[in-house]
């Protein structure tokens, strides 16, 4: 599903290149549940962002479902991203001015889905995550765990094949975190490919494979 070849990312700082990622070769298959681990500053998030097409590598090749992402125009990349990838953040990143239901609905707005269908999909999602009662509340009226549930629901509503999560439990207590990870496990079993960045060994155990990063390079 994902194939990275010789991916590097650097910034020019005072005439010197400072590498964030270097010489990354990586292959991830459909249905995997991968955890990216490593100390702070090792390049985990950058790698996740590149996979999520939110950031571009300085060099190297990136194939997503056999398509050369590094050669796609912005519009094509946006299309591919919209239909294939969902993203979950550590800080949830919900839109404060929209209700729970409206936040979940947002991705569909950008995919030309009809109103009736949108309503049905959002209702399904609310049902599935048992937050029907909260649908008209605004994000600041929810607990962290509930907000993250909304974030995941939003990431999943467009039925992506790949779910990216950047420390999804980082802002949650252990009980909430465990529930989220169980949910991820369940999603993975339902066929969604998941890549998560995490600091926690315990969370990594939910995955099928761990990638260790150190100073921008894969060490294991």
């Amino acid at each position: 599903m994902i194939q990275l070849q010789k991916i590097a990312k650097w910034y020019v700082n005072g005439g010197n290149k400072s590498y964030i990622l270097r010489d990354i070769h990586l292959k991830i298959l459909q249905g995997e549940f991968v955890s990216i681990m490593g100390p702070s500053g090792s390049g985990k998030s950058t790698l996740l962002n590149i996979i999520g097409m939110l950031d571009e590598p300085s060099e190297g090749l990136y194939f997503f479902d056999e398509q050369p992402v590094h050669q796609l125009k912005e519009r094509q990349r946006n299309e591919l991203f919209k239909k294939s990838i969902g993203v979950v953040f550590q800080a949830y990143n919900l839109i404060d001015e929209l209700t729970v239901a409206e936040n979940i609905e947002t991705p569909l707005l950008y995919q030309q889905v009809k109103t009736s269908e949108r309503k049905a999909l959002v209702a399904d999602m609310l049902d599935r995550f048992q937050i029907v009662g909260k649908k008209d509340l605004f994000p600041n009226q929810l607990s962290g765990g509930q907000q993250q549930l909304v974030g995941i629901a939003r990431a999943l509503i467009a039925k992506p094949t790949l779910l990216l999560a950047d420390e999804p439990t980082g802002n949650l207590n252990s009980k909430q975190g465990e529930e989220i990870m169980k949910l991820f496990k369940q999603l993975n079993e339902d066929g969604v490919t998941i890549i998560q960045v995490t600091h926690s060994e315990k969370n990594a155990e939910y995955g099928s494979r761990v990638i260790e990063l150190l100073d921008g390079q894969i060490v294991g």
Binding site: L54, V87, L94, I95, E97, T106, L109, Y110
Partner: protein
């Protein structure tokens, strides 16, 4: 999707109420100002444009050495018509100033309705053919003597509901007392007409020398030596006016070889507003002022547009996260742009609607200020509306587009990490905008201060005379001469005995009004060549005039009652200092006892100190005071208590001696202040514009301050943890903004100095444009800016530093 956008836009507006109110308020006020100015400019442009023959109507001017005169010899019109097939018709008009008089309606049975008319003219029979003033009753017989056409309003005034056609109106003016038959009634002349007359008398009446009342010297219709009429030509369709002008002049030189002037044609189209700023033909409007107002409108709109950009992007940190999230869930840039455009239209739309409300609310005061009857409805039928709306919408759309592009351009990852706002690009842009806004504001403040100072200078300067509590009564004009003369004396003798009349005088003119006349040809006995070309003003006064107005004698003596009574037979004259110098006397004393030529020899018996008979805009005119008990004006200085009762007593007395004459009075100082009406109007307009500009600029400054405080949250937190006081923090935050205002002051000052200096050149007596005005403008701007910023700075300085640091 649209509904989602609308929802979030409304929630955003509602969520940031202060910001929304400031932004919408800024838009509403500036758009309202823009609409008002559009009304005014639109009106000015439409003046005189309604005549059906507009492209073919020209005013005939005399041109001598680049100076144009709109008065031409009376026989020119008929002569041109007889000699040139191109001239379809001519129409000569005697202006209200020359024509004015008292009109009474002779309706049977009732006391005659009697009015002093200033809105009346004499015109040729072609008047209603050349100009478009539709008749609603009767027939145009203006070509025949002793006919009059009246407006619908005048018909109602004089005859109420009776049929006016065929009735008689009696006119008393300098051409004597004469009856006229009402031949037609026309629709009231529209406000967009420079010609404003309620009564149009047939000029043909004056063709009969018997009807000139001794004025045949200058007012004869076949006299080539005087110019007292304006002449309009209606050319045949398609005649090229420039070619015709040449042809006409060639013929004119043959016909009148002795003429010192040539003829020129002024299109009626450009009679109100000139064709160009440097055009020298006499006009009735003020093109420069129209341009100035237009410029101010654009500036205000520009400031508001920049403000909108400034405020909208200032809150961008808040919106950045939303932008990032939307991008992450799949929004394209163009989808984001359309979302923000919608928001922009919403904001501008609300602002626009509020502006319409403001216009409706403030229309009355504005009309009062402009002395015009303007309205939104009238604007609707004006072609300038589409231009203005186009400008408005292009402005709104482009500012909206800029904001949308700026907001949607945030890089996704940085926004989501909250790492945005470290760049200095946005700050620089904002600072530039604020400097620009404040430059305009400061320039307007300087202009306003200058206007007000000049105005107060003119109103408080020692005029060399005293008009306090001076009541002026217009003298009688109706009645048999000999009876009236006796009445004048008796009237004066009687009111002179009232204890509340401290001083009194009768004269042919009063300060603030024009002289009796201006003339050349007044010289010493042995004039140098060219001396006879010098112009002098002439005023008829009695022996009380100087005492009554507190005008001081510089040398020699005042008129005696005997001299006043003798009038011109006394062959005596008093000069003002300027006249003594201009006549060639070394000093006022040297003139005493000398004879000068004014037709006949007259003796200078006194010289008075110069005083301002006219506005301070012009230098004091060299003036000859001739003795006369003219009775045109009675000036009475009242004791100042119970003035209404005193006026009532005087009115009864006046009515007793001058039966049938209207009792009309005014106070000399109020009358004099009317000379500064335009300056007063200008300074009020500038005050409004400057206030608006500074308010809107402060909104921009507020936006910048919001942004800057947000950016410096961490710095403030650290400084406070390190022990900085509230005062130090406020100084830190305010300092930058004061620098911006000072930069604006530096840019604005030379521009304002240059413009206002040029404006002041129009005044013979003017203030110095010294540094205090600039300093005052600077201090004012800085104070207003400080006030605006200090609120935010104080709030930031008082906030808990730990919170600020944790946030980062």
């Amino acid at each position: 999707m649209f509904r989602n956008y609308l929802k979030i836009a409304l929630r955003n507006l509602n969520g940031n109420r202060v910001y929304s109110a400031i932004n919408i308020g800024g838009i509403a006020f500036s758009v309202a100002a823009f609409i008002f100015i559009l009304q005014y400019v639109g009106f000015e442009q439409s003046v005189n444009q309604f005549h059906k023959n507009l492209p073919d109507i020209y005013r005939l001017l005399g041109e001598e050495k680049g100076e144009y005169s709109d008065y031409t010899n009376a026989p020119l019109g008929p002569t041109l018509k007889n000699n040139f097939p191109e001239v379809k018709a001519f129409c000569r008009i005697m202006e209200p100033n020359t024509a004015k008089g008292i009109v009474s309606a002779q309706t049977t049975g009732t006391a005659p309705a009697l009015f002093r008319e200033n809105k009346m003219i004499y015109a040729d029979g072609s008047f209603f053919d050349v100009f478009t003033f539709p008749l609603i009753a009767g027939a145009n017989r203006l070509g025949l003597p002793q006919n009059v056409a009246i407006s619908a309003a005048a018909a109602k005034k004089y005859f109420n509901k009776a049929n006016p056609v065929g009735q008689t109106l009696v006119l008393v003016n300098q051409f004597g007392e004469r009856p006229y038959t009402v031949c037609a009634v026309y629709q009231d002349m529209p406000a967009q007409s420079d010609l404003q007359a309620d009564l149009v008398f047939s000029l043909q009446t004056l063709a009969n020398p018997a009807n000139l009342n001794g004025n045949e010297g200058w007012a004869s219709l076949d006299g080539w030596d005087s110019s007292f009429l304006q002449a309009f030509l209606l050319l045949k369709n398609g005649v090229n006016s420039q070619n015709f002008e040449q042809k006409m002049n060639a013929q004119f030189r043959k016909l009148r070889p002795q003429a010192t002037f040539s003829l020129a044609l002024q299109p009626l189209r450009y009679l109100h507003l000139a064709a160009a700023l440097d055009a020298r033909m006499p006009v009735t409007g003020r093109l420069a002022f129209v341009y100035l107002m237009g410029g101010i409108a654009m500036l205000i709109l520009l400031i508001a547009g920049l403000n909108y950009i400034n405020l909208s992007t200032a809150s961008s940190l808040k919106r950045a996260k939303e932008v990032g999230v939307r991008k992450v869930v799949g929004a394209t840039r163009s989808q984001l742009i359309s979302q923000f455009l919608l928001e922009s239209f919403l904001l501008n739309g609300i602002g626009f609607v509020l502006a319409l409300g403001l216009v409706a609310l403030l229309q009355k005061p504005f009309n009062l200020l402009m002395e015009k009857d303007l309205s939104l409805l009238k604007l609707l039928s004006n072609p300038i509306l589409s231009l203005g709306l186009l400008f408005l919408f292009v402005g709104m759309a482009s500012s909206g587009a800029y904001v949308s592009r700026a907001l949607s351009a945030f890089p996704t990852i940085e926004t989501l990490k909250g790492a945005l706002g470290k760049s200095s690009k946005g700050i620089l842009l904002r600072k530039t905008l604020v400097v620009f806004q404040f430059t305009i504001s400061v320039a307007l403040i300087i202009a306003t201060l200058t206007l007000y100072r000049q105005l107060s200078y003119m109103q408080t300067k020692d005029l060399g005379m005293n008009m306090e509590q001076m009541l002026v009564i217009k003298g009688p004009e109706l009645g048999v001469d000999s009876v009236r003369k006796k009445g004048i004396q008796a009237f004066q003798d009687e009111f002179a005995r009232f204890s509340f009349v401290k001083n009194y005088s009768q004269s042919g003119t009063v300060p603030g009004n024009f002289y009796n006349y201006q003339a050349a040809g007044i010289t010493r006995l042995n004039p140098q060549p060219g001396e006879d070309k010098k112009q002098y003003a002439v005023a008829y006064i009695d022996d009380h005039y100087f005492d009554t107005y507190g005008i001081k004698l510089a040398s020699g003596m005042n008129f005696t009652p005997a001299i006043s009574a003798q009038g011109s037979n006394s062959a005596k004259v008093i000069l003002n200092e300027s006249a003594a110098i201009k006549l060639g006397f070394a000093d006022p004393k040297a003139a005493i006892g000398q004879k000068i030529l004014n037709g006949a020899e007259i003796e200078v018996i006194g010289v008075v100190k110069d005083y301002h008979h006219q506005s301070l805009q012009s230098l004091i005119d060299p003036t000859l005071f001739l003795p006369a008990n003219s009775g045109a004006y009675f000036s009475l200085r009242l004791s100042g208590e119970q003035m209404p009762q005193q006026v009532a007593i005087l009115e009864r007395l006046f009515k007793k001696y001058f039966v049938g004459n209207p009792f009309e009075y005014f106070f000399a100082d109020e009358n004099y202040n009317k000379l500064y009406r335009i300056e007063q109007q200008n300074s009020q307009l500038f005050l409004i514009a400057a206030t608006l500009a500074i308010v809107i600029s402060c909104l921009g400054l507020f936006g910048l301050a919001t942004f800057s405080v947000e950016q410096k949250t961490k710095e403030i937190g650290i400084r406070k943890v390190l022990g900085a006081s509230v005062g130090q923090i406020v100084t830190l935050l305010s300092k930058d903004f004061i620098v911006l205002v000072l930069i604006a002051l530096v840019i604005a000052s030379p521009i304002a100095w240059w413009v206002m200096n040029r404006w002041l050149q129009d005044f013979a007596y003017r203030i110095d444009l010294g540094w205090p005005i600039f300093a005052a403008a600077g201090v004012l701007a800085v104070c207003i800016a400080l006030f605006t910023v200090s609120f935010l700075a104080l709030r930031a300085a008082l906030s808990n530093p730990i919170k600020a640091l944790r946030q980062e």
